[in-house]
Symmetry: C2
Subunit: 311 residues, 2 copies
């Protein structure tokens, strides 16, 4: 089943202990869609400037990602510059230029409207909500956000949460959004806001999912409703950018490839998410996703099983 | 098979977001031995002062821990005061009083000499080495250390490492000891120093074990020789003190209870380690270990399986 993603298609300049890369193709929707494309059909909604040319288009085409929904506008694409020199788990933003993204008005191509899966990557919650409302028949809706929206646009964000099935955010955002001291307590609070599943992305420490109790008064402890997948303990992380979005792409891409969604599907989705995250950080930007094969994914899935399973 | 542990038996005053506790029974050897006692016979080597009375002795007796090797000296026991107010993953030391521990000369009771397992908890590496050499027939030897010994007593510590099969330390110590940027790279360096297994304790993020390649020139990537167990995502951590030592107790206690050691035994040991760590942090000091039952351990082991296993 097809999945539509709305989010940024951008250029990044990043500096990490492994080196520096200037203006590489990036953005949440880019990482998400390349990652999900190994599992299912992916459709993108975004906006780009004149600097997005045939070279960038080719990256999406090679993975058969539908880019009908990418608007081309005069000017420059969204640009982000960050450094991981001090902490590989958290980027320090050096510069952000919204450029054509400042006036982004997402419009959904008619050919996208039968998408059963929808992912609202980290953008203005007002736009996330608009896309969500324009696709009311989506069967499973996921979303991400960031500290900026939690801090200064909370009412709009709370409206988005009402329409989400799965919220994927990092630990800091989880605590910021709920004020809870532990992610297990935060999960309980987030279930009251709309999502039925919370996936907490924890960088080099992997990701933990919490599943809402079936009865809202479920007194069962959250630890009993959790599932954890580690990150692969790599010898070198070249560039952490896009790990979370590639995780989301693997997670939702795998789910969209399944005939039906069971608790087991979500556990497998967590593993495929971490598998995709483990690849993207091996090289700068989207380089690793561009050369990746399905065979490598299956092989690494087995490695994750060995990393975690007793027997 | 019996396990001998040498380390501190102490009193702690701790402050956490959940409250404050004055002078509770603590110390690495205490947490280790209570935890391991659920799996096998445990023998302790330590020194205590006049403040260690019948009330403290009863805690060890109730778990059938052999305390023949605990020396009683005039003066006060080792005392530590710490705070977790800012970070539950890392204690801030407010006060340390060595007291009778300053002149500690471990002596091994004759009745301990047939112990097939030996754990050298975090103490002066000169003493760790002395105990190791006095028990040359031990089948499996584990050890811990801390930043202080790595920084200022490295030559003595390197001598200890030569005699260890398993090194259990936290991530910061792993990086400090090797200078490596990732724990996977650190593992390769540590295998050159003696240990054949490195267990990296990562607080609320669980623990990752690395197993040395059979051939020293093994070019296999470390990620292929790793095993990970998460920590239980608890709603509240009351007191993180002793989590690492209780992990070590569960890990070695389980191994000592096995007829033979296989790769599978070590994976199970990782799980039992994390199970024991998850209990101890639920209450202050050793309170939870004192009231714990084997049934609760087995139940929680199942919970860890559900937390991590696909099928």
């Amino acid at each position: 089943m097809a999945i539509t993603v709305v989010g940024s298609v951008a250029f990044d300049t990043v500096e990490t202990p492994a080196g520096r890369r200037e203006r590489c193709l990036a953005g949440a929707a880019t990482y998400f869609s390349l990652s999900a494309s190994f599992f299912t059909d992916v459709r993108v909604i975004a906006v780009v400037g004149d600097d997005f040319g045939p070279e960038q288009q080719k990256v999406f085409d090679a993975r058969k990602v539908d880019t009908t929904g990418i608007q081309h506008r005069p000017g420059k694409s969204f640009f982000w510059q960050g450094s991981y020199m001090e902490n590989l788990n958290e980027a320090k933003t050096i510069n952000t230029e919204l450029n054509v993204f400042a006036g982004f008005e997402p419009s959904i191509p008619a050919s996208y409207s039968d998408s059963e899966y929808l992912f609202l990557a980290n953008i203005d919650p007002v736009l996330q909500r608009r896309v969500r409302e324009a696709m009311p028949t989506a069967k499973l809706v996921g979303g991400d956000t960031m500290n900026y929206w939690i801090k200064d646009h909370k009412p709009a964000l709370l409206e988005v949460l009402k329409g989400l099935d799965v919220l994927l955010i990092n630990d800091t955002e989880t605590r910021m959004l709920t004020g809870a001291r532990s992610i297990a307590l935060a999960a309980g609070k987030i279930f009251e806001l709309g999502p039925k599943i919370l996936v907490v992305k924890r960088g080099e420490y992997g990701a933990t999912a919490f599943f809402a109790p079936k009865r809202p008064d479920g007194a069962e402890r959250m630890a009993h409703r959790a599932f954890h997948v580690p990150a692969l303990p790599l010898e070198e992380v070249v560039d952490p950018t896009g790990a979370g979005d590639s995780f989301a792409g693997g997670f939702f891409g795998y789910l969209a490839s399944q005939k039906e969604l069971t608790p087991k599907s979500f556990r497998y989705a967590m593993f495929y998410g971490s598998v995709m995250g483990s690849f993207v950080v091996e090289r700068f930007g989207t380089d690793r996703l561009q050369e990746l094969t399905r065979e490598e994914i299956d092989h690494r899935f087995k490695l994750f099983r060995e990393l975690t399973h007793l027997d």
